[in-house]
Amino acid sequence: MFPQVFIFGKAISNYALVALIGGLTAGAVFCRLIRKRGLNDNDAIAFLLIVSLGVMLGGHLLFGLTQWQYFPELFRQTNMIDRLYTLNAIFGGSVFYGGLFGGIAAGLAAIKIIHLPKTVYADCIAPIIPLFHGIARIGCFLAGCCYGVESKIGFTATGNPFVPAVNGVSRFPVQLLEAICNLLLAIFLLLLLRRSAQCNSLRSELIWIYFAVYSSVRFADEFLRGDNIRGFIGFLSTSQWISILLFIVVLIRTTVKQYQRHHMAN
């Protein structure tokens, strides 16, 4: 809708700008949570930077995988400039789940390398993920690379440069819905985090609560998305399949944990 903003005559990508604002805000909140627990916030910033790298790599890699049909063209081209353009087209976008798993992998590595307390960091990062994601989704809405289904309730885009077919049709603003859901989830998890100071059973559970709630919400609102080019396997989109898998992983982990708890009590 509004993919660019003009600052000093230069067109700056709105998506990158909003994602940056989201990242800095979420990072600042995370550092405050870590400081309140008496830990070193320098380590927290180093942790966040490593996680950001993981998020960027993971998000773009998974997006590239969903564009697998363009890989042969990469090898067919001989000109370096053409190859660069094709690489930009294949890996230029980002998928949230790729970013999430890349960020988690990088985060676990960072915890090991810097010797950080795993439970505290896992609990504190749980509300930060939807906080960042909620703000970045607004950037998604502005960029226009993902959009909603045709609907009487919604906005009509006119200047979408990525997919011209989107223009002129009233579409449901599913990214704004996702943004609101994410921010509500962030507030909910922050309240749970505050509660976990008194309630021991919530410790190290927050990130799993996030996985369970987010995967369910994502599965549902994916039906309101109109952007089929992002990759479909059968009748469900890739994100919906990943949501199902993630939910199953949470179920397995909860079952195993309950069994262990039961076993230890006996």
Binding site: P3, Q4, F8, G9, K10, A11, I12, S13, A16, L17, L20, L24, N40, N42, I45, A46, L49, I81, N88, G92
Partner: protein
Amino acid sequence: MFCKNCGKEIADEALACPNCGAPTQPTQTSTSAAPVRNPQDGRGLSIAALVLGICGVVLFWLPVFNLIVLACAVLGIIFGLKGRKKSIDAYGKASGLATAGLVLGIIGASICGLGVLTCTVCTSCTGCGIMSRL
């Protein structure tokens, strides 16, 4: 004040208790000196981070060269982190300079990153079209 040994009330400026003779604690003003500067406080690293961060903020718009500036700003973040860690180790809390170095490093790299996206990778630009001319 009161003598710490016998508890009798004595004059504030007394060096010893007239009752039991125990020396009083030296007053705050006689022991307070200028705060000692630890040479291992990572000041150089923080200043370097500050400079590299400012470079990132100021030179983000140079097409193609802002990749080098971005690399420098990222280096600024690393220096900022190291300098701040040294400051925390030396003084118990991060000095203002150390925090400023890290913050400027992060802001410089962020703005330069946006600049690279706009002016070098050309994901969204209406301007020079330098990539198409190469």
